[in-house]
Structures are given as structure tokens and as C-alpha cells.
């Protein structure tokens, strides 16, 4: 058993909270990008993972990075897309989990990705497909500093989190309609662009780091029960003044 971060009970209650939070988000009008960010954060907090990232299909034959727990994860995900190799791509193409206990044994399989990930200090990777029947709409990826695989129990948690997020994206009540997948995925990809623009607006107006700007944006949206993408758009088109947002949520709280 490699150093599990949390004791049994504490972990259980956090796990419960994570599912309740994810489920809550899905009840009303929610924001896909926000849900996915929560998901990767939960993965890092709950599981024995150093970092997590999530890619979604762009439905044009490619994948896009939509959520990540750190800039470093984002870079690793983007690198796989550029190099056209890596565990996350294999996971999406096969629709099966790709579990790598020790990256140093996989240099032949991924001659570019494996050395880079190791250089960044990662030793093992778990890529879990986000699947709806035969279609794989994305992949949830965990990166760890230690070698070895997650326990069976933790893998179940990853799968349950990935499934919950998949259902969230597709809206359970309309899950049979193929077109819903497209509407949601395409909207999420465009939201990602607006959110980055909004981060820039806040970063300049409040002299903030991008991550802090994102926290402020999320905090404000959540406190008001608004969709992240809507608030972001209002900032970008000038309907909401950055100062008004920043003065109302002075300090982002810890989840």
C-alpha cells in the first residue's frame, strides 16, 4: 500500500462529499467545464494521484484538453496530442482503461511521451475512458509520482467519478439522443475559450495570476448559482465589470 494521503473515515466522508457535490451540480443548469474541473480536483484530493487531467473528443477526429489540476498536467496532455502518442490517446482509441504501473518500462511503446513524463517527475499513469455505450467521448487521466497501480478500490472510485461526469455531460434525461452529445461537447469546447478570455480580463483588472483569476471566476459563479460560461461571457463582452466581480469575492475558499 503506497502512502495513502487520507485515513479511512476522512477519505470516506470526502468521497461522499465529492459525489454529492458532483450530483448537485448536475441537478439544475450546470456548466460542463466547471463540472469537469471539479472532477479532476476530486481525483487529486481523494485518490493517490499527483495530478489529473481530462480530454474530450472534438468530434472532428481529435481530442481537446478541457480540465487539468495543474499547468504541468495540461502540458503533458497537450504533448500527447502533439506527439500523437501516449496512454490517454490509447485509452480513447481502444475505449479501455490504460494502466501503467511504471513508465520506464514503456519507453518503446511511447518513445516521446514516456521520457517527457518521467522528466517531469511522473512514474505511473492511469487513463480511464469516459464512455457512453460504444462511444468514447473522452478520457480521465491520473498521473502519479510513485510507481505502482492504484488499488482496486481506488480504481472503482475513478470509474464512478468518470461515469458521473459522463452522465453530467450528456444529461441523463436525454441520454438516448445522439445529438445531445454533440451539442454538449461543442458548447464545452467554446466555453473553454470564453473562460480563458475571462481569466485574462480578471488577471489584468485585478493584477492576478491566471489560476487565481479562475478561482475568483468560479467562486463568483458558484456563490450566485450562475453558470461559469455565462459569467465568463458577460465579463468578456463588458456586461459585467471585472471590479464588481473581484470586489464581491475577495478570497477563494478551499474546497
Amino acid at each position: 500500500m503506497t502512502g495513502r494521503a487520507l485515513s479511512g473515515t476522512k477519505r470516506e466522508s470526502r468521497l461522499l462529499r465529492a459525489f454529492v457535490q458532483l450530483a448537485d451540480t448536475l441537478v439544475d443548469d450546470y456548466d460542463v467545464v466547471d463540472v469537469l474541473h471539479q472532477l479532476v480536483e476530486h481525483c487529486v484530493q481523494l485518490l493517490d494521484a499527483t495530478a489529473a487531467g481530462l480530454m474530450l473528443s472534438d468530434q472532428r477526429g481529435g481530442l481537446r484538453v478541457v480540465a487539468y489540476s495543474s499547468a504541468q498536467t495540461r502540458m503533458l496532455e497537450l504533448f500527447q496530442l502533439q506527439a500523437s502518442e501516449g496512454p490517454c490517446l490509447d485509452c480513447v482509441h481502444s475505449g479501455e482503461p490504460v494502466l501503467v504501473a511504471d513508465l520506464s518500462t514503456e519507453v518503446q511503446r511511447w518513445p516521446r511521451f514516456a521520457p517527457l513524463a518521467m522528466e517531469e517527475g511522473f512514474a505511473s499513469v492511469h487513463a480511464m475512458p469516459m464512455r457512453l455505450r460504444r462511444e468514447t467521448i473522452g478520457t480521465l487521466n491520473l498521473f502519479r509520482r510513485d510507481t505502482g497501480l492504484l488499488s482496486e478500490e481506488d480504481l472503482l472510485v475513478v470509474r464512478a467519478l468518470a461515469d458521473t461526469a459522463t452522465i453530467g455531460i450528456l444529461q441523463e434525461r436525454a441520454i438516448r439522443r445522439g445529438e445531445i452529445v454533440t451539442e454538449q461537447l461543442q458548447t464545452a469546447l467554446n466555453s473553454r475559450v470564453v473562460i480563458e478570455q475571462a481569466k485574462g480580463v480578471l488577471a489584468f483588472a485585478g493584477n492576478l495570476e491566471m489560476e487565481k483569476a479562475f478561482q475568483a471566476l468560479r467562486e463568483y459563479s458558484r456563490n450566485r448559482g450562475r453558470r461559469l460560461a455565462d459569467v465568463a461571457r458577460e465579463l468578456v463582452v463588458g456586461e459585467l465589470r471585472p471590479d464588481d466581480l473581484l470586489s464581491s469575492s475577495p478570497r477563494p475558499t478551499e474546497a
Partner: protein, 223 residues
């Protein structure tokens, strides 16, 4: 909007792209509309009379799938229009009841917060697109977006398709910083970034990175 209308060669390109799209996909017609608001819109191209009629009816009534795609900024895909429209858009449904329209696929043309218009595809018989067909439709939407955004920015659309990719995170962040620093629109901010990159002979990504890391003040791009 005037810039868009007046650029004949680009409009020809768009018409060719849309016609090719109709040829390749199992759809019977298509149209492109540009809009600057719910009441201000213009059909740039319609492949046939039914496609033109679909547009006109919706914008006169203020309801329908294409209208909704633009106003909600998300694709509105209706593989079985007769079934769906009576419930969701009753007035629109009544107005087009006599026309042979089985399905409508409406895609917003947008670049982040910049709303440009919509591409609408229709087919006579109901039915959904396959994964490959959908990929073609989305590529067409990307291409049309890049050409129209280029016209809005007052330049050709070269390289813009890529600029719009969600992967160009720093470009979008730098755009936001310019919006806040110079109090300009997202279109204008993107145009300034591209212009600055051009005159300083650097890549857009390099310029964006410098803005985000605060090596280059966005005020420098205000002139």
C-alpha cells in the same frame, strides 16, 4: 457587417464550401447567416429556396432552431423536425408545415465570446448524421467561422482557424487582458494581437505568452 457583405471573393469561397458540404453530406441544402443581434441579421448564402425560407421565417418570427443556435450559442440539432418543432417552436412549425423539411442542424458561428452567425443544414427526410458526417459538418463550421472572423478583423482568414482552437490557451488569456486594459471588444483585441505579432515579426503565441507573463504590457498594444 458591411465588410463581410462587400468582400465578394471571400463570399464566393464560402458559397463553394457550403455547396461542397451539401454535396458530401446527406443534406439537401444549407445557408450561412451573419448576425449582430436578434434583429439584425443577413443571409450571406442560401443554397436553395427552402434554405432561404427557413432563415427568413425564423428571423421574422424570432423562433426556430437556427435562431436558437445563435442566441444560445450552442448547436441545435433536430434530426426529426416534424416531431420536435411542434413542441419547441410551434409558430415556426406552423409556418414551415408545407415545406419538405425533415431535419435541421444549426451550428453557431462563434469564436469564444464573439458571436458571428450560424450555419444551417437541412434535409428533406428526418435522420441524424453519422460520426464521420458530423466531423465534416464541424470542419465546415470551423472553416466558415475562420473566414468570417477574418473579414470582421479586416484581414484574410489565414491561420485563424487554428487561433480559435481551445488549445491556444495563452492567446485567449492575452485577448482577455487586452480587453480589460484597452476597453475594447474581443474582436478588436484579437486583431491587435495579430497585428502586433505581424509588425514585430513574431508568432502570435510568442506575443501572447509575453503578454500573459507580463513581459509585454497590453497597454503597449494600445498605441
Amino acid at each position: 457587417m458591411a465588410a463581410v457583405r462587400d468582400s465578394e471573393s471571400q463570399l464566393d469561397t464560402l458559397a463553394r464550401v457550403i455547396r461542397a458540404c451539401v454535396d458530401v453530406l446527406p443534406v439537401d441544402g444549407a445557408s450561412i447567416s451573419v448576425m449582430s443581434g436578434p434583429r439584425e441579421r443577413e443571409t450571406l448564402y442560401a443554397s436553395d429556396e427552402i434554405a432561404a425560407k427557413i432563415e427568413d421565417v425564423q428571423f421574422n418570427l424570432g423562433e426556430g432552431p437556427c435562431f436558437e443556435a445563435f442566441s444560445t450559442r450552442r448547436p441545435v440539432l433536430v434530426p426529426d423536425l416534424p416531431q420536435a418543432s411542434a413542441l419547441e417552436w410551434p409558430v415556426f412549425a406552423a409556418a414551415i408545415a408545407a415545406l419538405p423539411i425533415g431535419a435541421i442542424f444549426a451550428f453557431p458561428l462563434q469564436a469564444g465570446a464573439i458571436g458571428i452567425g450560424a450555419v444551417d443544414l437541412y434535409r428533406r427526410r428526418p435522420g441524424w448524421l453519422s460520426g464521420d458526417e458530423l466531423a465534416v459538418a464541424l470542419e465546415v463550421v470551423d472553416l466558415v467561422t475562420a473566414v468570417l472572423l477574418g473579414l470582421l478583423l479586416g484581414e484574410d482568414g489565414d491561420g485563424l482557424q487554428d487561433v480559435l482552437s481551445p488549445g491556444r490557451e495563452q492567446v485567449h488569456q492575452a485577448t482577455g487582458m487586452l480587453i480589460a486594459a484597452l476597453e475594447i471588444s474581443a474582436e478588436e483585441a484579437l486583431a491587435r494581437l495579430r497585428g502586433y505579432a505581424f509588425v514585430t515579426d513574431r508568432s502570435l503565441d510568442e506575443v501572447a505568452k509575453d503578454v500573459v507573463s507580463r513581459k509585454l504590457s497590453p497597454l503597449e498594444l494600445g498605441r
